[in-house]
Every structure is written in structure tokens, then in C-alpha cells.
């Protein structure tokens, strides 16, 4: 199967910030690909370049076989995007937003109404479709935005934090729909998210990027396996990390004031030794490694001063004050 997206040394520099640094990624047709990374890692910038709204400083990419520099029009015709920043029109109704989108993307008149009804139903906005968007809640705007991205059935869909600010029910529905789109339409989906659970559930492959560079790229399963075992968390009186390191199968030890986190292969068999090595244990928790552990282990624990773009709530506040 061919590649839906290929980047070649794709680079974007903003004055002295290397937002995207010689990125080489191949995304297969029909794949759900996750782009993860801390705030300011360069996810949105990468997507903006692939959508042809930002010009790379260096390098290029192809989307659906079209070069983003030489054939931007062809690229645009074949993609859909849900921006990280809300971009639905406040002063129109939900339905009007969709009708305009359908016209811009040349959705044939004969199926327009049907498609619009379908996506409205999917995101649960049927009953509010004729209200002005300025009367929507933050989550409702997000849902409308998603509906819009899906409306013209693009071959490649970019979702920049699609479920930011959505309630668990809606998130679940959206996940199912994303999966269904990818399966039944062979749609390629590139998704960024800060919810590891979402990435784990949806993505066939994940790239963790930081400071514009790929740190690691693999399937969620392989990434979790590479952590090297289960996570064992002990609530305990201060303990000597060296004693844990001697135990077979323990690959990582993190000791804090009153708890210890160990990464342990075959944790069940090692539990006795671990308990013997600790102080007075109050509680033990064993869980399989999650993508969160993967993410933290590759990108570190500290929060960067870089804050990236504001959350949806601030954005909506801003929109309101601006109008």
C-alpha cells in the first residue's frame, strides 16, 4: 500500500526557534497516525505545513502524492482539517457553517443535505443546528468543527487535538467515528493529542516529537513494551534505591519522599524481593505500562516554560471579547 504522506527533511524555523527540525515521516494510506509531544513540540506547525497554510523553511512533503510546494491546490482538495484553534463562524448558525463548507469543498448539491444531516447527527448537534454558534458551549463548537472536517469525506484528515474539552460520552462517539472512517473509507488520519489514552486507543502508529525532532516512532504496543515491564508503585517509608536496582528484572527506579516507582519485568515473580527491599510498605499498586509512562520517559517530567497555544476556554473568552 502506498504512502498517504511523506515528509522530506521538512523544516520550519521561526526567527531563532526551530519549530520543526528536518522531519522525515512516512504515513501509510489508511493509517491512523498519532503525533505526540509536549507543548511547543512542533505538532501544529507540522500540520500547518502539510495543509499548505504555512510554507516550510526547508524540505518538502507529499500529501496524497501531491507536493505541498508545487501542487498546493491538489493537496487542499484532498484533505480535511480540524484546527487546534476554534475556527467556526460565530455569527452563523451551525448548519450555515456546514453549508458554506460544503460549497467551498464542492460537495455535490445532491448529497449535501444528507451529508450535513449525517455529521450533525454524529456530533449530536441536530437540535441546535439552527442556533447561532455564538450561543454554543465550548464543547459544542468543537463538535461542530469536527463535523465540518468530516463533511467532505477527505482522503487525509488532520485532527489537531480533536477532543480537547469534550465530555467523555462525546469523546467516545468521536473515537468510534474516527475508527469507522479509517476502516470503511480507508481515510488516513493524522492526529495530535495530549490524551495518551486517546492515542493508545486510536493510533496504529505514534511518533513522539520534541523540539521539532522525532524522538521515537512505533506502534503503541511496541512503545509500551519498550518501557521494560510493569509499573510497581509502593507507598513506603524512605528506601535505598540501590537495593531495588539489584533485583533482577528491575530496569528503572524512581524514589521520592514517601513512594517508589519501579519498572519491573515479570513483576508478579519479583514482588517478594521488592517488598523485602522496601521499608514499611503501606500500599502496593501494580499496573501495566501505559502510554503516559512512555511519554514521560521520552520527554521528561518537568513542565517547559514554553506554554504553546492557549486552551479552548481562553480562546472562546477571547473570541467573545473581540466581537
Amino acid at each position: 500500500m502506498g504512502n498517504a504522506i511523506e515528509t522530506f527533511e521538512l523544516t520550519k524555523r521561526f526567527k531563532n526557534i526551530m519549530a520543526v527540525d528536518h522531519l522525515n515521516i512516512k504515513i501509510k494510506q489508511g493509517e491512523i497516525f498519532g503525533l505526540l509531544g509536549p507543548n511547543g513540540a512542533g505538532k501544529t506547525t507540522t500540520i500547518s505545513m502539510l495543509c499548505t497554510i504555512l510554507r516550510p523553511t526547508e524540505g518538502t512533503a507529499t500529501v496524497n502524492g501531491f507536493d505541498i510546494l508545487k501542487e498546493p491546490d491538489e493537496v487542499r482538495k484532498s484533505i480535511g482539517i480540524v484546527f487546534q484553534q476554534p475556527s467556526v463562524d460565530d455569527i452563523l448558525t451551525g448548519r450555515e457553517n456546514l453549508v458554506l463548507h460544503a460549497m467551498w469543498y464542492g460537495v455535490p448539491k445532491a448529497i449535501r443535505r444528507e451529508r450535513i444531516d449525517e455529521v450533525l447527527k454524529l456530533v449530536g448537534l441536530e437540535s441546535r443546528q439552527n442556533s447561532l454558534v455564538k450561543t454554543y458551549s465550548g464543547g459544542m463548537r468543537r463538535r461542530l468543527e469536527l463535523a465540518r472536517g468530516l463533511l467532505h469525506l477527505p482522503k487525509v484528515l488532520f485532527l489537531d487535538e480533536p477532543t480537547l474539552g469534550l465530555d467523555p460520552q462525546t469523546r467516545e462517539v468521536i473515537w468510534e467515528y474516527i475508527e469507522q472512517m479509517s476502516r470503511s473509507r480507508d481515510m488516513t488520519i493524522v492526529l495530535t493529542t495530549h490524551y495518551m489514552e486517546e492515542a493508545d486507543r486510536l493510533c496504529n502508529r505514534i511518533a513522539i516529537i520534541d523540539q521539532g525532532k522525532i524522538i521515537v516512532m512505533d506502534t503503541p504496543e511496541a512503545l509500551k513494551a519498550a518501557v521494560g515491564g510493569d509499573m510497581v508503585c509502593l507507598r513506603t517509608t524512605p528506601a535505598d534505591p540501590e537495593r531495588f536496582r539489584k533485583i533482577e528484572g528491575v530496569s528503572k527506579v524512581e524514589v521520592q519522599e514517601d513512594y517508589v516507582v519501579l519498572t519491573v519485568r515479570n513483576s508478579g515473580e519479583r514482588l517478594q524481593e521488592i517488598l523485602a527491599a522496601s521499608g514499611k510498605v503501606e500500599s502496593v499498586q501494580i499496573r501495566p505500562a501505559s502510554l503516559d509512562d512512555v511519554f514521560i520517559s521520552y520527554t521528561g517530567k518537568e513542565i517547559r516554560p514554553e506554554t504553546g497555544e492557549g486552551g479552548i476556554a481562553q480562546r472562546i473568552m477571547r473570541q467573545r471579547t473581540l466581537r
Binding site: I53, D89, I91, L92, M103, W104, G106, L322, R323
Partner: protein
């Protein structure tokens, strides 16, 4: 065909915004009314120009002014669209920049022309009676004027980052265009320097043509007015499409 529908969609959006934000039309009609009835009415009680009551004399000039202001200031909305991120949705769509520009221009011209029509309909209140033919001629002149000025406003809007910057640049443009256009005074007895500038102001020809159409006095023959306006519109429109192609 696709692009035609897209242009229609762009225009439709602008039109909806216009009809939903009624404050826009109210404020843009209020100022011209002050000019006509307070300024024109006040001076008109003692002043006549070329045998015409001053209030009547400035009426066409004020109609042109209302189109001038609303057309150029329409450009600011593109800055807001960018600021609240709704422009991005349009720019990422498979539309040519030409279509985007045409859609925006048509939206702006519609706003201005609705105001223009309201202004023309109140002509009887100042004692100007328009025949259907002169009404249509006035509409044609105002459309050419608005086409060029909406293009001008959009060019400035697409180049500026903040509404404050836009307002500053536009103030330096709009007020001179207005005051040098002869909207408030006749052109035939001006000092050399002033006369030279008024001849260079394209709005002058809009005001002059409108005087021909509404009150039957003028400085230039009608065909000159129309020709200058058409050239001005063509130039600004072309520059606008070029600017949009390079935008962002």
C-alpha cells in the same frame, strides 16, 4: 462552476453577517444624515451655491461619502476574521485566492450598495427628485466607486495585522479622499494647488458624476467621470487580486 458556487458562499457569509449585525448599517447611515440635515440644513438656511440650496448641493457628495467610508472600512473585517481564526478555514479550502477576493469584494459592495440605496431613497427629504433613469445612473456610479474602494480597503486589511493599525492608515487615506473630492464645495473656483489635488482624487469623479445624475450640475462631462471611475475600479480590483494571491 465550483469556484462560482464558492464565491457565492463567500458572499452569502458576508451578507449574513451584515444583516445580523444591524448596528453596522445604523451607524453608517447616521453620520451622513447628520451631514445632510444638520451641516447641510444649517448652512443651507443662508448659503446657496450656483443658485442651488447648500443642503441640496452637498447631498450627492454626502451619498458618495457614505459609500466611501463604508467601503474602505469594510477592509477591517478581514483583520478580525484573521484574529478570531475564521479566515484560516477559508484559506485552507480548495479555493483560488481570486475567488476569495471576489467573494469578499462582492460582500463589501453589497453592504455599501444597500446603504447607498437607503441614502438615495431619502433624496425626496432634501427636495431632490430622482427619475428612474437618474436613480439607475447614480447606482452605477456608486457601484464603480464602491468596487474600487472596497478593493482598496481589502488590500490594506490583508496587509495589516491589527485593527488599530488599519484604522490609522485608513484615516490618513479616507479623510483626504473625502475633503479633496469636492463633496462639500464646487470645483470651479478653487486656488490652483487645491484644484490640482482634487483632480487627482478619484472620488472627485464619483461626486461629480453623482451631481450630474441627481441635481444636474457638474464640472466634468459624464463620460469622463465614468471612464475615470472604471479605470480606478479596474486598477484597484487587479491590485487586490494580486495582493490576495500573495497574502499570508
Amino acid at each position: 462552476m465550483r469556484q462560482a458556487e464558492a464565491v457565492y458562499a463567500l458572499w452569502f457569509r458576508e451578507f449574513k453577517v451584515f444583516t445580523r449585525e444591524r448596528s453596522r448599517i445604523v451607524t453608517s447611515i447616521f453620520t451622513p444624515l447628520l451631514w445632510i440635515f444638520v451641516f447641510g440644513g444649517g448652512l443651507g438656511s443662508t448659503v446657496n451655491i450656483e443658485g442651488i440650496n447648500y443642503q441640496v448641493y452637498i447631498y450627492p457628495g454626502i451619498v458618495a461619502m457614505s459609500v466611501l467610508f463604508s467601503s474602505v472600512f469594510y477592509g477591517v473585517y478581514i483583520i478580525w476574521d484573521r484574529k478570531i481564526d475564521i479566515l484560516k478555514e477559508v484559506l485552507v479550502a480548495p479555493l483560488s485566492r481570486y475567488s476569495v477576493f471576489v467573494g469578499k469584494v462582492l460582500g463589501g459592495c453589497t453592504d455599501s450598495m444597500i446603504q447607498a440605496i437607503v441614502m438615495l431613497l431619502i433624496s425626496f427629504a432634501v427636495g431632490v427628485y430622482l427619475s428612474p433613469l437618474s436613480f439607475l445612473l447614480a447606482i452605477l456610479i456608486l457601484f464603480l466607486l464602491s468596487l474600487s474602494l472596497v478593493s482598496t480597503g481589502l488590500i490594506i486589511g490583508s496587509l495589516m495585522e491589527s485593527p488599530e493599525g488599519f484604522n490609522m492608515v485608513v484615516s490618513f487615506l479616507v479623510f483626504p479622499l473625502f475633503f479633496f473630492s469636492g463633496a462639500l464645495y464646487p470645483l470651479n473656483n478653487l486656488p490652483m494647488w487645491l484644484s490640482a489635488i482634487t483632480y487627482m482624487d478619484p472620488v472627485t469623479y464619483g461626486v461629480d458624476g453623482l451631481r450630474t445624475a441627481t441635481i444636474g450640475v457638474s464640472q466634468f462631462p459624464l463620460h469622463i467621470d465614468l471612464a475615470v471611475l472604471a479605470v480606478f475600479a479596474a486598477v484597484m480590483f487587479t491590485m487586490g487580486t494580486k495582493t490576495f494571491e500573495r497574502m499570508k
